[in-house]
Symmetry: C2
């Protein structure tokens, strides 16, 4: 059990604070993804300097390597990765479902082959809860099936119903601890009545928070937003809401405007390793030759070392030379930008100026690689 | 011109201080190598925390990418890489000589093809000086041929004589600036009379320091030490001595004992990217399965983040998972260890206890991958 304090609302945007066994999380929050027990190309110290309060770990990757028992022996994920703050782990469901041809699913759970050594493993609601406990997750996610997109309504209903039965088994298997929590996951694809049915199945479980799953899987921003438009009003006001796997900066702003409190995405880290930077103006491709003589910092308003200490030309050089420092600096910048963006939204909600913030953001931010930065 | 203050000697080991336009260098010193304008897998900030006072850049790599004119336009190497302290650049000679089949050498210089795009380039004593000036090198190295090993005496004599003519041309082309300096390079392979002849050719040039080239090229530690045994006594006492491309920790201790002041080597950075750590006990292979459940830090006495914040088991996990953080942490540790080793030697010389330090080092340090750490 942990507490969520909804401090303020501004339109549908919400300012809140979650108090956990491992510290406080100010919402709306973006959680950097540390798949295999590391935010790729960052030290834990450098992640902390960006203002990040919670990170994410992937159950699938960690159960295979180094293994849940080993993480437990090493003192849990917090101790192992030097992150005493809150950690959320996913259930492993999303990853094993994507192992097409390497997994078989029954009512009981999913059997799958490891992508590392081909060894056979099983994930069920019960084993997922057990593994996430060994990892010492502050926030444990219910085991579910992320309904693929597109899904016909009948498929989506069958998939959602399975996830709801698995949610109940997850809740039964989850061991309550003070300051720890379980999140149920709302499914139902883009269908309003299925989302409603899913929420109604989850409410009796009284989990510490509710996630919205099955979005950001190819449906596009418009359908994602329209699904949020009818889904967030179904959710209890006094619990945090987590939109899984989202997203681009404009996704985050639009989802906060629709009442979402928590996000995670590999975008800032993954794109940092391919020469991409995220800024208030949009996405910038540092591989592009136009940066080669540019002595300006990437973003004058940013406090990260990439912007504070270096020119765009230098980062361009590092990216072109495949130097690890290029990935390190751009990842750092991207994580910093995502944290700054969330802080900007929190500050705006606290002063009841979220509409103004959103209008300002949309006036400067452009999708795609921007050429005019 | 810059000053070298020989503060103390202890046997043949020397404690000194070089004062340059970009700051002070305490010797004996180890210079981390930043080949293409970055100490691989490290930010400049993190290199500074290890106590490093001077870093090295490679003329060959930098002239090809991003290009000397571009580095100059970006404010020089110090500004570009965020390293206001001293920087030494090599002459490019060593790298172009190793481009077998892609280069042709005449009395004038070396013509070669870029390994990046096959474009044709030329390096001569004059162009090497010009490029190093554009890079804004605090210490410029004379253009020379690193005599391959093994070399018959006649070959070694011909090669050395060419390097001496190139040294004179380097000196003539080098533009003196306060706080900047040029180093001549002694060649002559393992032949005492050739080394003597080389030193005598270089002395009239009155360069700010003298390097010992053509070692650590396959001759082994015994021959390297015996060559140092007769070469360092030939060198003027009042100039710093730089043993190029060296080396392993036991090479460094043995060379300081033989009167060497400066070193550079890719070993700590390169081996950090292949799972190797250097410690007071010897080299440790973190890929080895024996580390997988080991909760101890790599080295309890080390102040780097790898040792301060993490277990051997975690670093093993990162290395096995090919996570960038594994390379980042081990590189950081290795650079820290090499700096700590040099500081240990400087402290020992200052208290006239270098013999005791060396005996203590040799009593605990083992070559090869040690199993008993």
């Amino acid at each position: 059990m942990f507490s969520f304090n909804l401090k303020k609302t501004d339109g549908r945007a919400r300012l809140g604070q979650i108090t956990t066994a491992h510290g406080i999380i100010d919402t709306p929050v973006f959680m950097p993804v540390g798949t295999a027990g590391t935010i790729k190309a960052m030290t834990a110290d450098s992640v902390r300097t960006t203002g990040a309060q919670i990170i994410l770990g992937n159950t699938y990757h960690l159960m295979l390597r180094p293994g849940a028992d080993r993480v437990h022996h090493l003192g849990g994920l917090h101790e192992m990765v030097d992150w005493p703050g809150p950690i959320l782990t996913d259930s492993g469901g999303f990853q094993v479902m994507s192992l097409k041809g390497l997994r078989s699913m029954t009512e009981h759970g999913v059997t799958f082959k490891s992508h590392i050594d081909g060894s056979l493993h099983e994930l069920t609601p019960e084993s997922s809860m057990e593994i996430q406990k060994k990892l010492d997750a502050t926030i444990t996610m219910a085991f579910d099936e992320c309904t693929p997109y597109p899904a016909k309504k009948e498929q989506a209903a069958i998939s959602m119903a399975l996830s709801m039965r698995w949610a109940t088994r997850s809740k039964d298997a989850f061991i309550e601890r003070p300051g720890y929590g379980l999140f149920g996951i709302v499914q139902g694809s883009i269908y309003e009545d299925l989302r409603q049915e899913s929420v109604e199945s989850l409410l009796p479980l009284d989990t510490e928070g509710l996630a919205i799953g099955g979005l950001a899987v190819g449906e596009g921003q418009e359908l994602m937003f329209s699904t949020l438009d009818f889904t967030t009003p179904m959710l209890p006001i006094q619990k945090p809401r987590y939109l899984m796997g989202v997203g681009k900066p404009d996704d985050l702003v639009g989802a906060v405007a629709r009442g979402v409190d928590m996000f995670d995405c590999v975008l800032p880290t993954r794109s940092g390793r391919t020469g991409q930077a995220w800024t208030w103006r949009g996405q910038v491709n540092l591989r592009n030759a136009r940066h080669k003589d540019d002595t300006r910092p990437l973003d004058e308003s940013c406090s990260c070392p990439a912007c504070r200490n270096h020119s765009r030309a230098y980062i361009h050089h590092l990216v072109r030379s495949d130097e690890m420092l290029g990935a390190m600096l751009l990842t750092w910048h991207n994580i910093q930008f995502f944290q700054d963006l969330m802080k900007g939204m929190r500050d705006a909600i606290s002063t009841e100026s979220f509409n103004k913030f959103q209008a300002g953001f949309e006036a400067t931010y452009r999708g795609g690689d921007i050429q005019a930065l």
